[in-house]
């Protein structure tokens, strides 16, 4: 697989390590009443879809950036790559 890095251009997926579902960006509020429940779901449960999947890849052997890659889990086709930083900001995380 080739990941089209937003800054570095097309890179072999071998340069990256894989973390998992990009929903990990959305850490729940630890102060909330139901934090027990929301953290259990956040840490342990996954949608695990057959089809389009947004996921976190880390460019370990490159510029060490985290990326959000949109990839089809049935065909391995990659349709979108963003810096995780940008994706996180777009989801309203950090200022």
């Amino acid at each position: 697989m080739i990941i089209n890095h937003p800054i570095l251009g097309p890179r072999d997926a071998q340069e990256f390590t894989y973390l998992g579902d990009a929903s990990l960006i959305e850490r729940p509020d630890p102060q909330a009443e139901n934090a027990d429940e929301t953290f259990h779901d956040y840490v342990y449960l996954r949608d695990n879809p057959a089809g389009e999947h947004q996921e976190l890849w880390y460019h370990e052997q490159g510029d060490r950036s985290w990326l959000v890659v949109t990839r089809n889990t049935l065909t391995h086709e990659i349709t979108d790559v963003q810096l995780a930083r940008d994706a996180a900001r777009a989801r309203g995380r950090s200022k």
């Binding site: 697989m1 894989y18 998992g20 779901d41 879809p49 999947h53 889990t73 049935l74 065909t75 391995h76």
Partner: protein
Amino acid sequence: MRYSGLRVIKEALTGHKGWTPQWRNPEAKKHYDVIIIGGGGHGLATAYYLAKVHGVTNVAVLEKGYIGGGNVGRNTTIIRSNYLLDGNEPFYELSLKLWENLEQDFNYNAMVSQRGILNLFHTDAQRDAARRRGNAMILNGSDAELLDQDGVRAMYPFMDFENARFPIKGGLLHRRGGTVRHDAVAWGYARGADMRGVDIIQNCEVTGFKIEDGKCLGVETTKGFIGANKVASCVAGSSSRVMEKAGMRLPIESHVLQAFVSEGLKPLIDGVITFGAGHFYVSQSDKGGLVFGGDLDMYNTYAQRGNLPVVEDVIESGMALIPSLGRVRLLRGWGGVMDMSMDGSPFIDKTHIDGLYFNGGWCYGGFKATPASGWCYAHLLATGNSHEVATEYRLDRFKRGYAIDEKGVGPQPNLH
């Protein structure tokens, strides 16, 4: 029909005209006591033990393709009882005991071969870990022997013992482990279940559940609605896809594992060897091919094929261990999709929906679990209670803080 040596001779002398199909191909009834979704090893074993041990015979196994076409026919066939943790080892020991008697029990040649598994170690720390694991195994009634380098050399002199980076210091030998003819396991259980009245319905995909007032009343399938008192999901790599139809999210990711087989060779490896310094394990099939594999491709996937980087990694690790492999030609490679759970351990449990049961999360170790998985799932379905060796395999164990994490790597499915 009972199979026996005498029968083979009789058929040989009479032109093999007396053999009959091993299971029927029935139409689905409108309603069953139990519907099992998934005709893999675990689903068929569950049906077999439901019928044989618990006398529950009004059972259907619904399989979307053909039985044995899933991971039960794609794995590298290794069986073993060499786990460390209390939540696991008694279960796998029961499984190995069932394997030891399986062929007599279901009257089918599954070629169970207890040829021994050798887990190599390359450092002092790994030796300590092997000793600890061996002790845990022995405490749970399994067998383990710690070999030093000479002991390993006597078994497999052709390995690269003085490799500069990963010298082989010894190994943990589990003599009762071995290999089994995987397809025959599916066929043997299918035949045994069918003989006792279980309907095996192939080309019948479950597409949804009928759930009313928190109770599961049956399943929607490509052959129409089929009602049931109890519905038991058992679909290995498809668990999330199927349970999502019941509105459930699981502590599971689907990943592909690849395996490879070489051209046929003269006898070289009479047991199973696992490399301790990289991802590689190997055995030799009775046809002579070296059967080997390594690690996951590491990313979520439902494609039953892997990518080249893992092929390279597996072969490099193989070469580091057995340099003579460089002369061997590869015949085939393939992949299977497995449900990797958050702690690397499986689930055999009721769900929060009345009448709906779940079996899954077997990761890459589910073939060896087949008999005990069927045994314990049947027990749960028939009695309503977890079998005593499967009490830890609950879906809510993360909530309660009871993960069964053999490797201690945390909730990261691809690392287990």
